[in-house]
């Protein structure tokens, strides 16, 4: 945490090295989170870049985070995604058919269900905003429950419940036969 405060202090002076380090550390988690939320690689790439641009604006306007860069960036990412959804609310969804089997998923994974990203993307739309965030943070941003709770301003118990309900909803959507 101390490192991050120092990193932020340097970032506020627009120290290129510090900014590069921030980008290096947070690009992937932000991308994963955003990708979970939008389900589309290209859009996720654009929105992730947008998150970093907003970080610069915040540094310029002295609105930058004081100590929790990780949580702050999530907040920005969340807003960027919301803005995106608002703009594209009526726009036709981009067709996407990337199956996990064809990509990086190892055979070790127990995914007997033929779950594709497209499935997930559709299923995600069923979730509440909080549920989406929990899922995206937990499985995209890779945040532990505790940190998700802090980031969202909820108790750990509440986050666990949100997660469980989100997963139940996804399961219901993805395998309707199994859900009651």
């Amino acid at each position: 945490m101390q490192d991050e405060i120092e990193l932020l202090a340097r970032a506020r002076r627009l120290d290129q090295e510090a900014l590069a380090e921030i980008h290096e550390t947070y690009y992937a988690p932000i991308f994963r989170y955003v990708a979970f939320r939008v389900g589309d690689r290209e859009t996720a790439e654009d929105l992730t870049s947008e998150v970093f641009t907003r970080l610069l604006s915040a540094l310029r306007d002295k609105a930058a985070p004081q100590n929790t860069l990780r949580g702050w960036l999530y907040g920005v990412a969340s807003r960027v995604v919301s803005d995106h959804h608002r703009k594209h609310y009526r726009a036709p969804q981009v067709e996407l058919d990337e199956s996990i089997a064809s990509h990086e998923a190892g055979p070790s994974e127990v995914v007997e269900a033929v779950l594709t990203r497209e499935d997930l993307k559709r299923a995600m739309t069923e979730l509440t905003e909080d549920q989406k965030n929990v899922i995206a943070l937990r499985f995209g941003y890779d945040m532990p429950i505790q940190e998700v709770a802090r980031t969202l301003g909820k108790t750990e118990g509440a986050v666990k419940q949100l997660q469980v309900r989100a997963i139940a909803a996804l399961a219901r959507r993805l395998s309707p036969r199994m859900a009651d």
Binding site: L19, H23, E45, T48, S49, L56, V164, A171, D180
Partner: protein, 410 residues
């Protein structure tokens, strides 16, 4: 989904996260396995559904991000980023001056005098200007300008009768017991003045003092060492050749043989160079009660005399004298002893001669001459002779003569 199932699912998800296999987890609640299984399957597949960023997109984003940052920094102000290259102190000083006080105040500080609230800012600004001047010659000019500024400030303080602590440096132009002239600023010396180094006209000194009621009293004076010529074997061997060069008839007038037996004065040269730790000069008047080769007692105060001691107007026991002495660790060493009661005037010239006459030790006299400067003595004598009618009314006349000559030589 009921609360019971929720609880079970939470527990199973935790187990899943801990790396337990799906089969293993489902064994915990066999009765719920059918309902838990699809949910756990989804949860287990979610990490795999995670999209990984491509290296290409990451690099593209990084490049754009850093370029935006650089553009932002450029807009923030080129002056500032240029200063970043300067030492931190410089930046900190400027930042302090500008941020805390503001640019307008900075200009206002230019006329600040010691003791003014803005005086600190003025000095900071000066230091900053010096530190950002890369050229040696320009820096020297600036430095001289600031040194003059110190002196102008003191003039202003003195004119206004203000009280303030000041510091300045300059060439010592004259040294009197109670007042020096340094860089045209009269500096009062009092008992508490600490003097470091070997004071000498023409050397540089750093004066730290206090202005009050139009006077500057020195707290300390540090004399910078100059290239002092070694206490010279000197071009005045003549007195040695002629043990009795001065046929001055007035020798008789002075009841002075007391002082004369000076053969023991071997310690004499020690005073001149550097024997002093931190001498201060004292000045007092009194009546000579005792006088011998090594020390005189004047109104109860004993002062050492030596070859460097200047005797004016043939002082002797019973005479009223003005003594200038150096206080070296509590011991007073006479710089000059001047007879100031009436009648000493005519002796002004005799004095030196007298010494020479009576001293068995000619070497010693040689030294004395050197200290006073050979030329000076010559002038003194002839000048004194010529002027005698004008001067002989009192000791002071002779004194002035002496001083003038002394200054001229220095």
């Amino acid at each position: 989904m009921d609360a019971q199932l929720e609880w079970k699912l939470i527990e199973c998800l935790a187990a899943l996260e801990n790396g337990e296999s799906l089969e293993q987890i489902l064994l915990r609640y066999p009765e719920e396995a059918a309902r838990l299984q699809p949910m756990l399957a989804v949860a287990a597949s979610l990490p795999a559904l995670r999209m990984e960023p491509s290296q290409e997109a990451r690099l593209k984003s990084r490049k754009a991000f850093l370029a935006q940052a650089a553009a932002l920094e450029a807009r923030r102000g080129p002056a500032r980023s240029r200063l970043f290259a300067r030492p931190l102190v410089t930046f900190a000083s400027i930042a302090l001056a500008f941020i805390l006080i503001g640019g307008g105040t900075l200009a206002a500080s230019a006329s600040a005098l010691p003791g003014d609230p803005l005086y600190g800012v003025k000095r900071i600004v000066e230091n900053v200007r010096l530190s950002i001047t890369p050229d040696d010659a320009a820096r020297a000019t600036l430095s001289a300008q600031f040194a003059q500024e110190r002196i102008d400030e003191i003039d202003a303080l003195l004119a206004a009768g203000r009280e303030a602590e000041v510091e300045f440096g300059g060439i010592i132009q004259s040294i009197q017991a109670s007042a020096w002239l340094v860089a045209n600023v009269p500096v009062d010396i009092d008992d508490n003045t600490r003097i470091e180094g070997s004071p000498q006209v023409g050397l540089r000194a750093q004066v730290h003092g206090r202005t009050q009621d139009g006077m500057l009293t020195a707290i300390s004076i540090v004399v910078e060492p100059g290239e002092e010529p070694a206490p010279a074997p000197s071009p005045t061997p003549e007195p040695q050749a002629t043990p009795r060069p001065t046929p001055t008839p007035r020798a008789t007038e002075t009841p002075e043989p007391t002082r004369t037996p000076t053969p023991t004065r071997t310690f004499a040269p020690t005073l001149t160079p550097t024997a002093s730790p931190t001498p201060s000069e004292v000045e007092f008047e009194g009546t000579v009660e005792r006088a011998d080769a090594q020390s005189w007692t004047i109104s109860g105060v004993t002062v050492e005399v030596n070859a460097a001691t200047e005797f004016r107007n043939s002082p002797g026991v019973g005479h009223r004298v003005k003594v200038k002495a150096l206080n070296i660790g509590g011991q007073l060493i006479a710089v000059s002893i001047e007879r100031i009661d009436a009648g000493g005037g005519e002796d002004g010239n005799t004095n030196g001669n007298d010494n020479q006459n009576d001293n068995g030790n000619t070497n010693d006299n040689g030294n004395e001459n050197e200290d006073g400067n050979g030329n000076g003595n010559g002038n003194e004598n002839s000048g004194g002779d010529g002027n005698e009618t004008g001067n002989d009314s009192g000791g002071h006349g002779g004194d002035e003569n002496n001083n003038e000559n002394g200054n001229g030589n220095g």
